[in-house]
Amino acid sequence: MTGARDDVLVCDNIVRRFGGVVALKNVSVAVKRGEIFGLVGPNGSGKTTLVNAVTGFYPPQEGRITLDGKKINGLKPYMIASMGVARTFQNVALFHGMSVLDNILMGRHIYMKPNPLASFFYPWWARKEEIENRKKVEEVIDLLQLAPARDEHVDVIPLGLQKRVELARALCAEPKLLVLDEPMAGMNQEEKEYMVRFILDAQEALGLTVLIIEHHMDVVTALCDRILVLNNGQEIAQGPARETIANPLVVEAYIGKPRDAA
Protein backbone atom coordinates (compact mmCIF):
# COMPACT_ATOMS: atom_id res chain seq x y z
CA MET A 1 0.00 0.00 0.00
CA THR A 2 1.49 3.30 -1.00
CA GLY A 3 -1.56 5.42 -0.41
CA ALA A 4 -3.55 7.60 -2.68
CA ARG A 5 -2.05 10.55 -4.48
CA ASP A 6 -3.50 13.07 -2.09
CA ASP A 7 -1.84 11.42 0.90
CA VAL A 8 1.02 13.56 2.12
CA LEU A 9 2.28 11.19 4.75
CA VAL A 10 1.86 7.47 4.77
CA CYS A 11 3.13 5.26 7.58
CA ASP A 12 2.91 1.60 6.87
CA ASN A 13 3.19 -1.00 9.63
CA ILE A 14 5.66 0.88 11.74
CA VAL A 15 7.47 -1.01 14.49
CA ARG A 16 9.79 0.69 16.94
CA ARG A 17 11.45 -0.96 19.91
CA PHE A 18 13.54 0.47 22.73
CA GLY A 19 15.48 -2.41 24.18
CA GLY A 20 12.72 -4.72 25.37
CA VAL A 21 9.95 -2.15 25.12
CA VAL A 22 7.93 -2.16 21.93
CA ALA A 23 6.77 1.42 21.66
CA LEU A 24 5.04 1.04 18.29
CA LYS A 25 3.50 -2.17 17.05
CA ASN A 26 2.48 -2.19 13.39
CA VAL A 27 1.01 1.26 13.28
CA SER A 28 -0.31 2.45 9.94
CA VAL A 29 -1.67 5.84 9.13
CA ALA A 30 -2.23 8.06 6.10
CA VAL A 31 -2.56 11.83 6.35
CA LYS A 32 -4.36 13.57 3.49
CA ARG A 33 -3.26 16.82 1.97
CA GLY A 34 -4.79 19.82 3.66
CA GLU A 35 -6.30 18.02 6.62
CA ILE A 36 -5.64 18.33 10.30
CA PHE A 37 -4.96 14.91 11.66
CA GLY A 38 -5.03 14.20 15.39
CA LEU A 39 -2.95 11.68 17.26
CA VAL A 40 -4.26 10.83 20.71
CA GLY A 41 -3.77 8.16 23.31
CA PRO A 42 -2.72 7.61 26.89
CA ASN A 43 0.70 8.66 28.13
CA GLY A 44 3.41 6.38 26.91
CA SER A 45 1.25 5.00 24.14
CA GLY A 46 3.78 5.93 21.51
CA LYS A 47 2.47 9.16 20.04
CA THR A 48 5.71 11.04 20.36
CA THR A 49 7.58 7.97 19.23
CA LEU A 50 5.52 7.85 16.06
CA VAL A 51 6.19 11.49 15.41
CA ASN A 52 9.87 10.91 16.10
CA ALA A 53 9.84 8.08 13.60
CA VAL A 54 8.34 10.35 10.98
CA THR A 55 10.84 13.14 11.64
CA GLY A 56 13.77 10.76 11.70
CA PHE A 57 14.85 10.81 15.35
CA TYR A 58 13.93 7.23 16.09
CA PRO A 59 13.91 5.51 12.73
CA PRO A 60 11.48 2.61 12.82
CA GLN A 61 12.96 -0.87 12.86
CA GLU A 62 10.24 -2.16 10.57
CA GLY A 63 7.77 -0.57 8.23
CA ARG A 64 7.88 2.18 5.72
CA ILE A 65 7.23 5.87 5.86
CA THR A 66 6.65 7.90 2.72
CA LEU A 67 6.28 11.59 2.22
CA ASP A 68 4.56 12.49 -1.02
CA GLY A 69 5.38 9.02 -2.24
CA LYS A 70 9.07 9.21 -1.39
CA LYS A 71 10.42 6.84 1.22
CA ILE A 72 11.84 8.75 4.16
CA ASN A 73 12.52 6.22 6.84
CA GLY A 74 16.24 5.84 7.40
CA LEU A 75 16.88 9.43 6.48
CA LYS A 76 18.42 11.77 9.02
CA PRO A 77 16.17 14.36 10.68
CA TYR A 78 17.75 17.25 8.83
CA MET A 79 17.15 15.59 5.48
CA ILE A 80 13.54 14.99 6.31
CA ALA A 81 13.26 18.60 7.37
CA SER A 82 14.59 19.79 4.07
CA MET A 83 12.01 17.63 2.32
CA GLY A 84 9.27 19.72 3.89
CA VAL A 85 8.45 18.38 7.33
CA ALA A 86 8.51 20.84 10.21
CA ARG A 87 7.61 20.18 13.80
CA THR A 88 7.37 21.50 17.32
CA PHE A 89 8.26 19.62 20.47
CA GLN A 90 6.44 18.40 23.52
CA ASN A 91 8.87 20.33 25.73
CA VAL A 92 9.59 23.66 24.12
CA ALA A 93 12.84 23.43 22.22
CA LEU A 94 13.88 26.95 21.34
CA PHE A 95 17.42 28.22 21.03
CA HIS A 96 18.06 29.98 24.28
CA GLY A 97 20.97 32.03 23.11
CA MET A 98 18.95 33.84 20.47
CA SER A 99 16.29 36.48 20.19
CA VAL A 100 12.79 35.64 19.04
CA LEU A 101 13.63 37.01 15.63
CA ASP A 102 16.75 34.89 15.23
CA ASN A 103 14.87 31.82 16.37
CA ILE A 104 12.30 32.35 13.70
CA LEU A 105 14.96 33.16 11.12
CA MET A 106 16.47 29.77 11.93
CA GLY A 107 13.30 28.33 10.46
CA ARG A 108 14.45 29.56 7.09
CA HIS A 109 17.60 27.52 7.36
CA ILE A 110 16.78 25.16 4.55
CA TYR A 111 16.47 28.08 2.17
CA MET A 112 19.82 29.55 3.11
CA LYS A 113 23.30 28.37 2.40
CA PRO A 114 25.33 28.77 5.54
CA ASN A 115 28.96 29.10 4.68
CA PRO A 116 31.86 30.49 6.66
CA LEU A 117 33.31 32.21 3.63
CA ALA A 118 30.04 33.95 2.91
CA SER A 119 30.00 35.13 6.48
CA PHE A 120 33.47 36.46 6.08
CA PHE A 121 32.46 38.68 3.20
CA TYR A 122 29.04 39.49 4.55
CA PRO A 123 28.31 42.75 2.73
CA TRP A 124 28.93 41.33 -0.73
CA TRP A 125 27.90 37.78 -0.36
CA ALA A 126 25.43 37.01 2.35
CA ARG A 127 23.51 40.21 2.86
CA LYS A 128 21.05 39.81 0.05
CA GLU A 129 20.09 36.35 1.20
CA GLU A 130 19.60 37.58 4.76
CA ILE A 131 17.27 40.35 3.72
CA GLU A 132 15.17 38.22 1.42
CA ASN A 133 14.56 35.65 4.09
CA ARG A 134 13.89 38.31 6.61
CA LYS A 135 10.89 39.42 4.58
CA LYS A 136 9.33 35.99 4.75
CA VAL A 137 9.94 35.86 8.47
CA GLU A 138 8.22 39.16 9.02
CA GLU A 139 5.12 37.82 7.29
CA VAL A 140 4.95 34.94 9.72
CA ILE A 141 5.57 37.26 12.64
CA ASP A 142 2.59 39.32 11.54
CA LEU A 143 0.43 36.26 11.12
CA LEU A 144 1.12 35.01 14.62
CA GLN A 145 1.08 38.48 16.21
CA LEU A 146 4.60 38.17 17.48
CA ALA A 147 5.76 41.62 16.51
CA PRO A 148 5.93 43.07 20.03
CA ALA A 149 8.20 40.26 21.20
CA ARG A 150 10.42 40.29 18.13
CA ASP A 151 13.60 41.53 19.78
CA GLU A 152 13.13 39.83 23.13
CA HIS A 153 15.38 37.06 24.27
CA VAL A 154 13.42 33.83 24.05
CA ASP A 155 13.94 32.72 27.61
CA VAL A 156 12.35 35.77 29.15
CA ILE A 157 9.03 35.45 27.38
CA PRO A 158 6.20 33.37 28.86
CA LEU A 159 5.74 29.76 27.90
CA GLY A 160 2.65 30.45 25.84
CA LEU A 161 4.56 32.89 23.69
CA GLN A 162 7.47 30.48 23.44
CA LYS A 163 5.17 27.85 22.02
CA ARG A 164 4.01 30.40 19.50
CA VAL A 165 7.58 31.22 18.53
CA GLU A 166 8.21 27.56 18.02
CA LEU A 167 5.17 27.41 15.78
CA ALA A 168 6.43 30.43 13.87
CA ARG A 169 9.81 28.80 13.40
CA ALA A 170 8.15 25.73 11.97
CA LEU A 171 5.90 27.77 9.68
CA CYS A 172 8.82 29.69 8.24
CA ALA A 173 10.09 26.54 6.65
CA GLU A 174 6.91 26.54 4.53
CA PRO A 175 6.46 22.86 5.23
CA LYS A 176 4.33 20.36 3.40
CA LEU A 177 3.60 18.70 6.66
CA LEU A 178 3.50 20.41 10.02
CA VAL A 179 3.81 18.22 13.08
CA LEU A 180 2.72 19.63 16.44
CA ASP A 181 3.48 17.71 19.63
CA GLU A 182 1.15 18.89 22.41
CA PRO A 183 1.16 22.56 21.41
CA MET A 184 -1.36 23.38 24.11
CA ALA A 185 0.10 21.59 27.11
CA GLY A 186 0.17 23.84 30.14
CA MET A 187 -2.09 26.50 28.66
CA ASN A 188 -5.24 27.87 30.14
CA GLN A 189 -8.49 28.24 28.34
CA GLU A 190 -7.77 31.64 26.90
CA GLU A 191 -4.37 30.70 25.61
CA LYS A 192 -5.71 27.52 24.11
CA GLU A 193 -8.27 29.53 22.20
CA TYR A 194 -5.58 31.73 20.74
CA MET A 195 -3.41 28.82 19.79
CA VAL A 196 -6.28 27.11 17.98
CA ARG A 197 -6.94 30.32 16.13
CA PHE A 198 -3.32 30.59 15.03
CA ILE A 199 -3.20 27.04 13.83
CA LEU A 200 -6.34 27.51 11.83
CA ASP A 201 -5.17 30.81 10.39
CA ALA A 202 -1.84 29.39 9.42
CA GLN A 203 -3.41 26.39 7.82
CA GLU A 204 -5.68 28.58 5.84
CA ALA A 205 -3.01 31.06 4.81
CA LEU A 206 -0.36 28.52 3.89
CA GLY A 207 -2.47 25.54 2.89
CA LEU A 208 -0.82 23.25 5.39
CA THR A 209 -1.27 19.66 6.28
CA VAL A 210 -1.07 19.23 10.04
CA LEU A 211 -0.40 16.26 12.29
CA ILE A 212 -1.16 17.16 15.87
CA ILE A 213 -0.81 15.40 19.22
CA GLU A 214 -3.04 16.79 21.93
CA HIS A 215 -4.54 15.72 25.22
CA HIS A 216 -7.23 18.39 25.37
CA MET A 217 -10.27 16.65 23.92
CA ASP A 218 -12.23 19.83 23.31
CA VAL A 219 -9.40 21.10 21.16
CA VAL A 220 -9.06 17.84 19.32
CA THR A 221 -12.71 17.68 18.41
CA ALA A 222 -12.71 21.29 17.33
CA LEU A 223 -9.58 21.10 15.21
CA CYS A 224 -9.12 17.67 13.79
CA ASP A 225 -10.73 16.22 10.74
CA ARG A 226 -9.67 12.71 11.61
CA ILE A 227 -7.83 11.14 14.51
CA LEU A 228 -5.85 8.02 15.32
CA VAL A 229 -6.00 6.65 18.85
CA LEU A 230 -3.03 4.69 20.10
CA ASN A 231 -2.78 2.54 23.16
CA ASN A 232 0.33 0.61 24.13
CA GLY A 233 1.80 1.29 20.74
CA GLN A 234 -1.19 -0.12 18.89
CA GLU A 235 -4.03 1.48 17.04
CA ILE A 236 -7.33 1.11 18.86
CA ALA A 237 -9.42 3.38 16.72
CA GLN A 238 -9.23 5.67 13.73
CA GLY A 239 -11.70 7.92 12.02
CA PRO A 240 -13.50 11.24 12.23
CA ALA A 241 -12.77 12.98 15.49
CA ARG A 242 -16.12 13.11 17.23
CA GLU A 243 -17.20 9.54 16.52
CA THR A 244 -13.85 8.05 17.34
CA ILE A 245 -13.67 9.71 20.70
CA ALA A 246 -17.02 8.29 21.61
CA ASN A 247 -15.79 4.78 20.83
CA PRO A 248 -16.08 2.74 24.06
CA LEU A 249 -12.56 1.34 23.67
CA VAL A 250 -11.20 4.87 23.54
CA VAL A 251 -13.27 6.00 26.46
CA GLU A 252 -12.06 3.13 28.56
CA ALA A 253 -8.37 3.45 27.73
CA TYR A 254 -8.04 7.15 27.42
CA ILE A 255 -10.88 9.46 28.30
CA GLY A 256 -12.36 7.86 31.34
CA LYS A 257 -15.86 8.17 32.64
CA PRO A 258 -17.23 11.66 32.37
CA ARG A 259 -17.12 13.39 35.70
CA ASP A 260 -20.33 13.77 37.63
CA ALA A 261 -22.04 16.97 36.83
CA ALA A 262 -22.64 17.78 40.46
Partner: protein, 292 residues
Protein backbone atom coordinates in the same frame (compact mmCIF):
# COMPACT_ATOMS: atom_id res chain seq x y z
CA UNK B 1 56.80 -15.33 28.34
CA UNK B 2 57.95 -14.37 31.82
CA UNK B 3 58.52 -10.92 30.40
CA UNK B 4 54.97 -10.75 29.22
CA UNK B 5 53.62 -12.03 32.51
CA UNK B 6 55.70 -9.52 34.39
CA UNK B 7 54.49 -6.66 32.23
CA UNK B 8 50.97 -7.92 32.68
CA UNK B 9 51.08 -8.20 36.44
CA UNK B 10 52.98 -5.01 37.09
CA UNK B 11 50.77 -3.25 34.59
CA UNK B 12 47.65 -4.52 36.29
CA UNK B 13 48.93 -3.44 39.68
CA UNK B 14 49.98 -0.03 38.41
CA UNK B 15 46.55 0.23 36.87
CA UNK B 16 44.99 -0.42 40.23
CA UNK B 17 47.20 2.29 41.66
CA UNK B 18 45.67 4.61 39.05
CA UNK B 19 42.30 3.33 40.19
CA UNK B 20 43.02 4.84 43.59
CA UNK B 21 43.19 8.26 41.97
CA UNK B 22 40.27 7.49 39.70
CA UNK B 23 38.13 6.32 42.59
CA UNK B 24 38.12 9.81 44.03
CA UNK B 25 36.95 11.19 40.72
CA UNK B 26 34.15 8.66 40.45
CA UNK B 27 33.04 9.13 44.04
CA UNK B 28 32.55 12.80 43.44
CA UNK B 29 30.94 12.37 40.06
CA UNK B 30 28.59 9.67 41.19
CA UNK B 31 27.38 11.57 44.17
CA UNK B 32 27.62 15.19 43.19
CA UNK B 33 27.62 15.11 39.42
CA UNK B 34 30.81 17.15 39.41
CA UNK B 35 33.67 16.09 37.13
CA UNK B 36 36.55 16.85 39.42
CA UNK B 37 39.60 17.58 37.32
CA UNK B 38 41.35 18.67 40.50
CA UNK B 39 41.49 15.13 41.83
CA UNK B 40 45.16 14.87 40.84
CA UNK B 41 45.87 17.97 42.87
CA UNK B 42 43.81 16.59 45.74
CA UNK B 43 46.05 13.52 45.70
CA UNK B 44 49.03 15.85 45.79
CA UNK B 45 47.62 17.71 48.77
CA UNK B 46 46.98 14.38 50.47
CA UNK B 47 50.58 13.35 49.82
CA UNK B 48 51.79 16.58 51.39
CA UNK B 49 49.47 15.99 54.33
CA UNK B 50 50.90 12.54 54.96
CA UNK B 51 54.41 13.93 54.66
CA UNK B 52 53.60 16.72 57.07
CA UNK B 53 52.33 14.37 59.75
CA UNK B 54 55.28 12.05 59.28
CA UNK B 55 57.68 14.96 59.52
CA UNK B 56 56.11 15.93 62.81
CA UNK B 57 57.21 12.57 64.06
CA UNK B 58 53.89 10.75 63.99
CA UNK B 59 54.17 7.08 63.13
CA UNK B 60 52.80 5.87 59.83
CA UNK B 61 49.74 4.19 61.30
CA UNK B 62 48.75 7.48 62.83
CA UNK B 63 49.84 9.81 60.08
CA UNK B 64 47.61 8.22 57.49
CA UNK B 65 44.40 8.38 59.53
CA UNK B 66 45.31 11.91 60.55
CA UNK B 67 45.76 12.80 56.90
CA UNK B 68 42.42 11.19 56.13
CA UNK B 69 40.68 13.34 58.68
CA UNK B 70 42.46 16.40 57.30
CA UNK B 71 41.49 15.59 53.75
CA UNK B 72 37.91 14.88 54.70
CA UNK B 73 37.72 18.32 56.24
CA UNK B 74 39.48 19.72 53.23
CA UNK B 75 36.75 18.22 51.05
CA UNK B 76 34.07 19.82 53.16
CA UNK B 77 35.79 23.17 52.90
CA UNK B 78 36.09 22.94 49.12
CA UNK B 79 32.39 22.23 48.88
CA UNK B 80 31.56 25.06 51.21
CA UNK B 81 33.65 27.66 49.45
CA UNK B 82 33.42 26.65 45.83
CA UNK B 83 31.02 23.96 44.80
CA UNK B 84 28.07 25.33 46.69
CA UNK B 85 27.73 28.16 44.26
CA UNK B 86 28.10 26.02 41.16
CA UNK B 87 24.83 24.16 41.55
CA UNK B 88 23.03 24.02 38.24
CA UNK B 89 25.84 25.60 36.21
CA UNK B 90 26.83 24.21 32.81
CA UNK B 91 29.52 21.57 32.70
CA UNK B 92 32.17 23.85 31.22
CA UNK B 93 31.92 26.10 34.24
CA UNK B 94 32.33 23.21 36.64
CA UNK B 95 35.19 21.70 34.66
CA UNK B 96 36.96 25.00 34.59
CA UNK B 97 36.31 25.61 38.26
CA UNK B 98 37.97 22.35 39.18
CA UNK B 99 40.85 23.17 36.87
CA UNK B 100 41.16 26.52 38.58
CA UNK B 101 41.21 24.69 41.87
CA UNK B 102 43.90 22.38 40.59
CA UNK B 103 46.06 25.33 39.56
CA UNK B 104 45.44 27.04 42.86
CA UNK B 105 46.35 23.99 44.90
CA UNK B 106 49.41 23.34 42.80
CA UNK B 107 50.59 26.82 43.64
CA UNK B 108 49.48 27.06 47.21
CA UNK B 109 50.61 23.80 48.72
CA UNK B 110 54.12 23.52 47.24
CA UNK B 111 54.40 27.26 47.72
CA UNK B 112 53.92 26.90 51.43
CA UNK B 113 55.42 23.50 52.11
CA UNK B 114 58.23 23.58 49.60
CA UNK B 115 58.46 22.39 46.04
CA UNK B 116 61.47 20.05 46.10
CA UNK B 117 60.36 16.40 46.26
CA UNK B 118 59.60 15.21 49.79
CA UNK B 119 60.14 11.65 50.76
CA UNK B 120 57.65 9.61 52.69
CA UNK B 121 58.25 6.10 53.89
CA UNK B 122 55.13 4.15 54.65
CA UNK B 123 57.16 1.10 55.52
CA UNK B 124 56.34 -1.09 52.58
CA UNK B 125 59.89 -2.08 51.88
CA UNK B 126 61.83 -2.34 48.75
CA UNK B 127 62.46 -5.88 47.73
CA UNK B 128 60.26 -7.12 44.93
CA UNK B 129 58.07 -10.17 45.28
CA UNK B 130 59.78 -12.72 43.07
CA UNK B 131 57.91 -15.57 41.47
CA UNK B 132 60.12 -17.50 39.08
CA UNK B 133 61.54 -14.92 36.72
CA UNK B 134 58.75 -12.50 37.44
CA UNK B 135 59.46 -9.53 39.69
CA UNK B 136 56.47 -7.83 41.20
CA UNK B 137 56.66 -4.35 42.62
CA UNK B 138 55.78 -4.48 46.30
CA UNK B 139 54.33 -0.98 46.55
CA UNK B 140 52.07 -1.64 43.60
CA UNK B 141 51.04 -4.92 45.13
CA UNK B 142 49.99 -3.20 48.32
CA UNK B 143 48.36 -0.44 46.25
CA UNK B 144 46.44 -2.95 44.17
CA UNK B 145 45.09 -4.75 47.20
CA UNK B 146 44.13 -1.53 48.95
CA UNK B 147 42.46 -0.30 45.77
CA UNK B 148 40.33 -3.42 45.59
CA UNK B 149 39.36 -3.05 49.24
CA UNK B 150 38.42 0.60 48.80
CA UNK B 151 36.40 -0.14 45.71
CA UNK B 152 34.57 -2.89 47.57
CA UNK B 153 33.82 -0.54 50.42
CA UNK B 154 32.57 2.10 48.00
CA UNK B 155 30.29 -0.41 46.32
CA UNK B 156 28.75 -1.29 49.65
CA UNK B 157 28.46 2.36 50.54
CA UNK B 158 26.38 3.19 47.50
CA UNK B 159 23.95 0.44 48.45
CA UNK B 160 23.09 2.23 51.66
CA UNK B 161 20.37 4.81 51.97
CA UNK B 162 22.91 7.58 52.21
CA UNK B 163 24.50 6.23 49.06
CA UNK B 164 21.18 6.32 47.22
CA UNK B 165 20.69 9.90 48.35
CA UNK B 166 24.08 10.84 47.00
CA UNK B 167 23.22 9.28 43.67
CA UNK B 168 19.98 11.22 43.65
CA UNK B 169 21.94 14.40 44.18
CA UNK B 170 24.12 13.69 41.17
CA UNK B 171 20.97 13.29 39.12
CA UNK B 172 19.23 16.52 39.95
CA UNK B 173 20.24 19.04 42.55
CA UNK B 174 17.04 20.97 42.58
CA UNK B 175 14.69 18.07 43.00
CA UNK B 176 17.01 16.69 45.68
CA UNK B 177 16.45 19.87 47.56
CA UNK B 178 12.76 19.68 46.92
CA UNK B 179 12.54 16.32 48.66
CA UNK B 180 14.66 17.47 51.55
CA UNK B 181 18.10 16.10 50.71
CA UNK B 182 20.79 18.50 51.77
CA UNK B 183 22.69 18.83 48.55
CA UNK B 184 25.46 20.77 50.23
CA UNK B 185 26.06 18.07 52.76
CA UNK B 186 25.95 15.37 50.14
CA UNK B 187 28.49 17.11 47.97
CA UNK B 188 30.62 17.79 51.03
CA UNK B 189 30.54 14.14 51.98
CA UNK B 190 31.47 13.05 48.50
CA UNK B 191 34.44 15.40 48.45
CA UNK B 192 35.38 14.17 51.87
CA UNK B 193 35.29 10.56 50.74
CA UNK B 194 37.31 11.43 47.68
CA UNK B 195 39.79 13.10 50.00
CA UNK B 196 40.14 9.88 51.94
CA UNK B 197 40.74 7.90 48.76
CA UNK B 198 43.28 10.54 47.81
CA UNK B 199 45.23 9.95 51.00
CA UNK B 200 45.75 6.32 50.09
CA UNK B 201 46.75 7.28 46.57
CA UNK B 202 48.99 10.10 47.78
CA UNK B 203 50.73 7.94 50.37
CA UNK B 204 51.46 5.10 47.99
CA UNK B 205 52.43 7.17 44.98
CA UNK B 206 54.32 9.55 47.22
CA UNK B 207 56.30 6.73 48.74
CA UNK B 208 57.42 5.57 45.32
CA UNK B 209 58.09 8.86 43.54
CA UNK B 210 58.33 11.42 46.34
CA UNK B 211 55.79 14.09 47.11
CA UNK B 212 55.80 17.10 44.85
CA UNK B 213 53.43 18.74 42.42
CA UNK B 214 53.95 16.06 39.78
CA UNK B 215 51.58 13.89 41.81
CA UNK B 216 48.83 15.97 40.31
CA UNK B 217 49.77 14.65 36.88
CA UNK B 218 48.30 11.31 37.88
CA UNK B 219 45.06 12.89 36.79
CA UNK B 220 45.70 11.99 33.17
CA UNK B 221 45.87 8.20 33.52
CA UNK B 222 43.07 8.42 36.06
CA UNK B 223 40.93 10.13 33.45
CA UNK B 224 41.59 7.32 31.04
CA UNK B 225 40.51 4.91 33.75
CA UNK B 226 37.23 6.66 34.43
CA UNK B 227 36.41 7.24 30.80
CA UNK B 228 36.96 3.60 30.04
CA UNK B 229 35.16 2.31 33.10
CA UNK B 230 32.40 4.89 33.01
CA UNK B 231 32.54 8.15 34.93
CA UNK B 232 29.99 7.06 37.48
CA UNK B 233 30.80 3.40 37.83
CA UNK B 234 32.64 2.04 40.83
CA UNK B 235 33.32 -1.38 39.31
CA UNK B 236 34.40 0.52 36.21
CA UNK B 237 37.26 1.93 38.22
CA UNK B 238 38.73 -1.53 38.67
CA UNK B 239 38.15 -2.72 35.14
CA UNK B 240 39.28 0.57 33.65
CA UNK B 241 42.32 0.61 35.88
CA UNK B 242 43.31 -2.89 34.90
CA UNK B 243 42.94 -2.22 31.19
CA UNK B 244 44.71 1.13 31.26
CA UNK B 245 47.48 -0.30 33.43
CA UNK B 246 48.00 -3.45 31.41
CA UNK B 247 47.88 -1.80 28.00
CA UNK B 248 50.06 1.01 29.31
CA UNK B 249 52.61 -1.53 30.41
CA UNK B 250 52.52 -4.25 27.78
CA UNK B 251 52.40 -2.04 24.71
CA UNK B 252 55.28 0.23 25.76
CA UNK B 253 57.12 -2.89 26.93
CA UNK B 254 57.28 -4.14 23.37
CA UNK B 255 57.06 -0.95 21.39
CA UNK B 256 59.17 1.65 23.16
CA UNK B 257 62.57 0.31 22.20
CA UNK B 258 61.42 0.12 18.59
CA UNK B 259 59.85 3.56 18.42
CA UNK B 260 62.51 5.18 20.54
CA UNK B 261 59.96 7.13 22.52
CA UNK B 262 57.68 6.33 25.36
CA UNK B 263 54.34 5.23 24.04
CA UNK B 264 52.58 5.00 27.38
CA UNK B 265 50.87 8.37 27.15
CA UNK B 266 49.97 7.64 23.56
CA UNK B 267 48.31 4.44 24.68
CA UNK B 268 46.51 6.34 27.42
CA UNK B 269 45.34 9.03 25.00
CA UNK B 270 44.18 6.45 22.52
CA UNK B 271 42.23 4.62 25.19
CA UNK B 272 40.41 7.84 25.99
CA UNK B 273 39.74 8.62 22.36
CA UNK B 274 38.67 5.19 21.26
CA UNK B 275 36.39 4.76 24.23
CA UNK B 276 34.68 8.03 23.50
CA UNK B 277 34.28 7.20 19.84
CA UNK B 278 33.10 3.65 20.28
CA UNK B 279 31.28 3.65 23.59
CA UNK B 280 31.03 7.18 24.92
CA UNK B 281 29.78 6.20 28.34
CA UNK B 282 32.49 3.67 28.96
CA UNK B 283 32.08 0.04 29.83
CA UNK B 284 29.74 0.47 32.77
CA UNK B 285 28.81 4.14 32.66
CA UNK B 286 25.26 5.34 32.56
CA UNK B 287 23.86 6.95 29.47
CA UNK B 288 22.29 10.33 29.38
CA UNK B 289 18.56 9.96 29.18
CA UNK B 290 17.31 12.47 26.65
CA UNK B 291 13.66 12.38 25.78
CA UNK B 292 12.60 14.38 22.82
Amino acid sequence: MAYFVELLINGALTGLMYSLVALGFVLIYKSAGVPNLAQGAVVMVAGYAVWLFLSWGLPVWLSIPAAMVTMFLFGLVVERLLLRRMVGQPVIMVVMLTLGLEILLRGLVPGILGSAPKSIDVGIGFAPVIIGDVFINRTSLVGGIVALLLVGASLLFFRTRLGTKLRAVSDDHISSWAVGISVERAIGISWGLAGIAAVVAGALWGSSQGVDWTLSMLLFPAIAVVILGGVDSIPGVVVGGLVVGILGSVIPGYLDSIVGGSTRDVVTSLIILLTIMVRPFGIFGREDIERI
